[in-house]
C-alpha cells in the first residue's frame, strides 16, 4: 500500500529523513519509532503529500508523492500530533467542514456515524473547547476517518492521554485494522507499538531496523531461558555447559540464564539433564525483552545514549545493596 525508496528530506542543509526505504503492506499497522527529531513527523508529512521529498520516492496506493498529491490526500486520513480542532465550533461542525472538503457525498450520515462510533454524539453540538483532551483526540480520529480513507497516518495519537482514554483510543485503532485499513503509527509509547504494530521501523533520521518486534527481539538478544534452582553448584553448571545446544550460560545468584537456539525443542532435554545432576528446579521461564529494551539497544548501537542503566551500572547497584 505504501512504498518508499531512498526517501530523503533536507531542510536548509539539515537532513531530516535520509534514504528511507520501506514497504507497508495493505491492512497492517506499521509502527514508526524513533527519538525526537528522528524524522517521524517529516515522514508522515511526506506520505500525506504535505511536503515533497528532496529525493527518492514515495508511492501510496499507486499514486506518487509530489506528482499525484491531490489523489493521495483523498485516500489518506491524518491525525496530527496536536488535535488541531476549531475550538469555538461544535464537534459536528468540525467534522462537517472536513467531510465537505474531502467531498464526502452524504455529509450528515458520515458525521453521525463517526460521532456515534467514538461516543461523541451526545456532545455533538457543544463547542470543542469544552471537551477533555481525550475527547478532542477521539474527534481528531473521527475527522481523519470521515472520508473513509484507506490509509491512516497517526502521529502520536495517544500522546498526553490518561491510561483509560489511551486504552479506548488504542482499541479503536486495533478495530480499524480489522476493517482492512493500512495504518502508519508514529509513537513514543513502546508498549503501544508492541500491542498494536505488526512491524516496526526504528528511525533515527535514517532507518535503523525494520521487522516484527519478535524478530527484532531474537536478532538482538537471542533467546534465553531462566532456570531458578534451589542452589547452583559447579556440577550443575558443568552439566549445562556440556550440553552441545547450549550457546551460553550465565549465573545470577540461584538463576541460570541459558541461551538456546530452539527452546521449544531443547527445554525438555535441558530439564532432564538438570534433574539428572540433582538440581531442584523452582521455575523455568523464557526471558522477556520489552520493546523498550530492543528500541534502546538499537538506538545505543547506532551511537545514541541509552537511558537504561548499563550491565555494569546494574551490577554496581546490586553490590551496593
Amino acid at each position: 500500500m505504501i512504498t518508499t525508496r531512498a526517501l530523503t528530506k533536507v531542510y536548509d542543509g539539515t537532513v531530516a529523513v535520509q534514504a528511507l526505504t520501506m514497504e507497508i503492506r495493505s491492512g497492517e499497522i506499521f509502527g514508526l519509532l524513533g527519538p525526537n527529531g528522528a524524522g517521524k513527523t517529516t515522514t508522515v508529512r511526506m506520505l500525506a503529500a504535505l511536503i515533497s521529498p528532496t529525493s527518492g520516492e514515495a508511492v501510496i496506493a499507486g499514486y506518487r508523492v509530489g506528482e499525484q498529491d491531490a489523489a493521495i490526500r483523498r485516500l489518506v486520513g491524518i491525525v496530527t500530533e496536536a488535535p488541531g480542532l476549531y475550538e469555538r465550533l461544535s464537534a459536528r461542525e468540525n467534522l462537517e467542514i472536513y467531510a465537505k472538503l474531502y467531498g464526502v457525498s452524504n455529509v450528515a450520515r458520515q458525521v453521525e456515524k463517526y460521532l456515534r462510533l467514538l461516543e461523541l454524539w451526545d456532545r455533538r453540538d457543544d463547542p470543542v473547547g469544552t471537551f477533555s483532551k481525550g475527547m478532542k483526540q477521539k474527534l481528531a480520529l473521527a475527522r481523519a476517518l470521515v472520508h473513509e480513507p484507506k490509509v491512516l497516518l497517526l502521529d502520536e495519537p495517544t500522546s498526553g492521554l490518561d491510561p483509560q482514554m489511551t486504552k479506548v483510543v488504542r482499541e479503536f485503532i486495533a478495530d480499524l485494522k480489522g476493517q482492512g485499513r493500512t495504518i502508519l503509527l508514529c509513537t513514543h509509547n513502546l508498549d503501544e507499538a508492541e500491542r498494536l504494530c505488526d512491524r516496526i521501523l526504528v528511525l533515527k533520521t535514517r532507518p535503523i531496523a525494520l521487522d516484527t518486534p519478535q524478530a527484532l527481539r531474537r536478532r538482538l538478544f537471542g533467546r534465553r531461558v531462566i532456570v531458578t534452582l534451589e542452589a547452583v553448584t559447579d556440577r550443575i553448571l558443568e552439566r549445562v555447559r556440556a550440553l552441545d545446544f547450549v550457546l551460553d550460560v550465565q549465573q545470577e545468584d540461584r538463576r541460570l540464564l541459558i541461551a538456546l537456539s530452539d527452546p521449544e525443542r531443547q527445554n525438555p532435554i535441558l530439564v532432564r539433564a538438570l534433574v539428572e545432576v540433582g538440581a531442584a528446579i523452582r521455575f523455568l521461564t523464557e526471558e522477556e525483552h520489552s520493546l523498550e529494551e530492543i528500541y534502546l539497544r538499537l538506538i545505543e548501537e547506532d551511537g545514541g545514549t541509552s537511558v537504561l542503566p548499563s550491565a555494569s551500572d546494574r551490577a554496581e547497584a546490586s553490590s551496593a545493596r
Binding site: Y11, R45, A48, A49, L50, I51, S52, A70, R73, R74, V76, I78, T80, E81, A82, G84, L85, Y86, E87, R88, L89, E93, I97, Y98, K100, L101, Y102, G103, P127, A140, R143, A144
Partner: protein, 267 residues
C-alpha cells in the same frame, strides 16, 4: 460545495462566536459613525466662537474655491460639511482594521491552534484556502464600512441641514467608500497574510499591519490643517495605485501561502 465556500462558511461560523474580535471590528465603526455628530453638535455649543478657527476658515476657503456655491453658505454649515467630509476619510480605517483583524486572527490563530496541518492535508488547493480566508476577511470588513456609511448618511439626513448631504455624499465621498474602501481592505488582508506568516500571535501581526493606518491619518491631518482638499481625480489615482499594490501584495501572500512553506517555515 466549493472548498472556497466551505472555508468561508467555517471562518464566519468561527468569527460569529469570537465576540472580542467582533467587538474590536465594530468599535471603530461606532466611534467613526457617532463622533462627527457629537462634534458638530457639541463644539458650537461648548465653544460658540472658537469652533470657527483658522483651520476651519482655511478649509472653508478651499471648499469655496472647489465648490463656489459654498461661498454663500453659512459658516456653521461649512463646518458641518468639513467635519463630515473628514470623517468619510476616517471610514477607510474600518476596512483596514476589520480585514487586518480577521486575516491575522484567521491565519495566526490557525497557527497557534495548530489547525492548519489537518486542513492542508485535505484535497483543498492552497489558492482556494487563501481565497476563502481572504473573502472571509475582506467581505465583512467592506460590508461593515458600507453599512456604517449608510447609517452615516441616514443620520446626516435626520440631524443635519439639507444642504450638507449633497456636499458629503459626492463623487469623492462615494469613491472613497465604494472604491478605495474595498481596495484598502484587500491591501490590509494581503499585508495581514504576509505579516501572519512570520508573527507568532495575532496581536503582533496586527501591530505591524496597523502601519497601513498611517497614510490615512496623514491625509486626515493634512486635510484638517487645510493644506489641501481631496479631489475626485486624486481619489481615482489613489485607487489605481492601491490596485497595483493589491496585486503585488496578494502575489507575495500567495507565494508565502504554500503547503510546505506554511508547515516548515512559518514560525
Amino acid at each position: 460545495m466549493s472548498p472556497v465556500l466551505v472555508i468561508l462558511q467555517k471562518e464566519w461560523a468561527d468569527l460569529r462566536r469570537h465576540r472580542l474580535l467582533m467587538l474590536s471590528m465594530m468599535a471603530p465603526a461606532v466611534v467613526f459613525l457617532l463622533l462627527p455628530f457629537a462634534l458638530v453638535i457639541l463644539v458650537p455649543l461648548l465653544d460658540p466662537s472658537g469652533w470657527n478657527d483658522r483651520n476651519v476658515q482655511r478649509m472653508a476657503e478651499l471648499l469655496g474655491r472647489a465648490e463656489p456655491d459654498l461661498r454663500r453658505v453659512d459658516p456653521l454649515l461649512v463646518f458641518h460639511i468639513y467635519i463630515f467630509r473628514q470623517f468619510t476619510l476616517m471610514f477607510l480605517l474600518i476596512p483596514i482594521l476589520g480585514a487586518l483583524s480577521i486575516a491575522t486572527y484567521s491565519i495566526v490563530g490557525e497557527k497557534q491552534n495548530r489547525t492548519l496541518e489537518p486542513l492542508l492535508a485535505t484535497p483543498i488547493r492552497t489558492t482556494e484556502l487563501l481565497w476563502g480566508k481572504s473573502l472571509a476577511a475582506a467581505l465583512p470588513a467592506t460590508l461593515l464600512t458600507w453599512i456604517t456609511f449608510g447609517l452615516y448618511v441616514l443620520l446626516m439626513r435626520a440631524l443635519s441641514p439639507a444642504e450638507v448631504l449633497p456636499h458629503v455624499v459626492n463623487p469623492v465621498g462615494l469613491s472613497l467608500i465604494f472604491l478605495i474602501g474595498p481596495l484598502v481592505a484587500i491591501l490590509s488582508l494581503g499585508l495581514g497574510v504576509i505579516v501572519s506568516s512570520r508573527a507568532k500571535d495575532p496581536r503582533t501581526a496586527q501591530q505591524i499591519g496597523v502601519l497601513l493606518i498611517l497614510p490615512i491619518m496623514a491625509l486626515f491631518i493634512m486635510q484638517m490643517r487645510g493644506f489641501f482638499l481631496l479631489r475626485a481625480r486624486w481619489v481615482w489615482l489613489g485607487a489605481a495605485v492601491l490596485l497595483a499594490l493589491d496585486v503585488i501584495v496578494l502575489k507575495i501572500g500567495a507565494r508565502l501561502f504554500q503547503r510546505e512553506t506554511i508547515l516548515t517555515r512559518w514560525t
